[in-house]
């Protein structure tokens, strides 16, 4: 874990001008997106996005299919670059550093920004190896330290009690909800600052979904969470602030309580009340 810790120190030092001290009530901006535009070749997928996401908050992104919410979340760890023909303008400052700057080290960024996907995607390895994988590739070799990280991460993902006696079993043998929590544990093992979640419960049953939602509420004490979801009740239940996107634009970004009780924009009202179209 020393690598991640060192990196954090560097970022905090380089970021003094944009931060607020932790002991004040105002939360620090983790991601500051300014005038972001993104094209998939000719397709203008994100249009003038301006958003501030704050530490230790859950920010939900909602909107109809094709509105750009998944594209946006994938720009936050630059995964979107895996799509051929992508180009961007504008900036996304992560703790003061523009991550769209080609000089930014993507691996370094992804060490601090973990991601959980729609479908649980554990490796075809043991539960232990799934969680220890990240720390190992970051150079941690000591068994005792790895054991400690694995336990801490599995506890953090609220699955330790369910798997502690079968850490050497294949993760594929777990239920979908358990697999997704293993993926969250795998994400926690590299000690990120931010966890991006792209519809993390859409493939899960209601009980597993509620477990993940409870977990998200606990995780925000330590991490900043940005979640894309099609489930509006989920966004209402777990997030502090909600972004509503439509046709590649941010229509409304406000406190979740406000957005779901008294949205300012008629398009938001029509979407969340199911009268969109």
């Amino acid at each position: 874990m020393s690598m991640a810790t060192d990196n954090k120190v560097q970022i905090e030092v380089s970021n003094n001008h944009t931060t607020t001290e932790n002991n004040t009530t105002q939360k620090r901006v983790v991601y500051d997106t300014k005038n972001l535009n993104l094209w998939y070749s000719e397709n203008h997928a994100l249009k003038d996005i301006n958003l501030e996401m704050k530490e230790n908050e859950v920010t939900a992104i909602i909107g109809p299919s094709g509105c750009g919410k998944s594209t946006y979340i994938k720009t936050l760890n630059r995964m979107v670059e895996l799509v051929p023909g992508v180009s961007t303008t504008g900036s996304i400052a992560y703790k003061g550093n523009n991550i769209l700057d080609k000089a930014m080290n993507v691996e370094d960024l992804r060490t601090r920004v973990g991601m959980v996907f729609q479908k649980p995607n554990p490796f075809p390895k043991s539960i232990y190896e799934n969680v220890a994988y990240g720390p190992k590739i970051h150079g941690i070799k000591k068994k005792a330290l790895l054991d400690d990280i694995v336990e801490k991460s599995l506890r953090g993902a609220a699955i330790w009690d369910e798997v502690k006696d079968r850490l050497n079993e294949n993760a594929y043998g777990l239920s979908g909800g358990q697999q997704q929590r293993i993926c969250i544990a795998r994400c926690l093992a590299i000690e990120p600052d931010v966890i991006l979640m792209d519809e993390p419960t859409s493939a899960l049953d209601p009980i597993s979904t509620l477990k993940i939602e409870e977990l998200i509420k606990e995780l925000k004490q330590k991490y900043t969470i940005i979640i894309v979801t099609h489930n509006m009740q989920q966004a209402a239940r777990i997030s502090d602030r909600t972004v509503f996107m439509l046709n590649g634009e941010v229509v409304e970004f406000s406190e979740t309580d406000q957005l779901f009780s008294n949205p300012k924009d008629k398009r938001t009202e029509d979407y969340i009340t199911g009268r969109f179209g």
């Binding site: 509006m232 009740q233 209402a236 779901f260 009780s261 008294n262 949205p263 938001t268 009202e269 029509d270 969340i272 009340t273 199911g274 009268r275 969109f276 179209g277």
Partner: protein
Amino acid sequence: MVGREAFQGELQHLEELIIELAKKTKEQLNLAIDALYRADVSQAEQIIQNDKELDQLDMKINEEAIVLIARQQPVATDLRRLVVALRISNDLERMADNAKNVAKSTIHLGEDHGIEVHPSIQEMKLMAVEMIDLAILSYENEDVTLARRLAELDDVVDNMYSTMLRELLEETATNPQKIQHIMQMAFSGRYVERIGDHATNIGEDVMYLVKGESLDLNN
């Protein structure tokens, strides 16, 4: 706007039930004041009987609104509409209770009480009926201007009640043997005045429905 036609229909049905409850509440108030002035004990008893029907209608509205909340998981205006339906139904039911209380006073007074019913009660009732009409019109049309007008009318009713109460207190000094009867008269005035407060609450509910903000029109 498209979508959720069935839900829209259920919301419409709920509104119709509320309007029906308002109509019955107004009838109860008219009958109650009429029975008070005519010292008609049997009509007063009928009003008390009728109140059960209004209570059932209020319960029906509550149940339907709660089922819609559970099944439709409403947000934004839909959620406010259902919350407001619950509140308005509750206020109408309380208004009907006040009409029932006037009927109980009529029964306490009996048929041969021999004192004149204070004329202000009739005037207050006319104002209260106008306020119920305005409140429901404001709800049906989602008209916040009418909602604000309710607060003005409520002040008039409050003043009428204060004046009447002062006069009744003076009468207790000159007519102490009738104090029990005068008290019932004062209570009746108070019940009508409370109906004005509940109508004003409906105005607040309409403002919440339309603007999404809670306001206190009673102060």
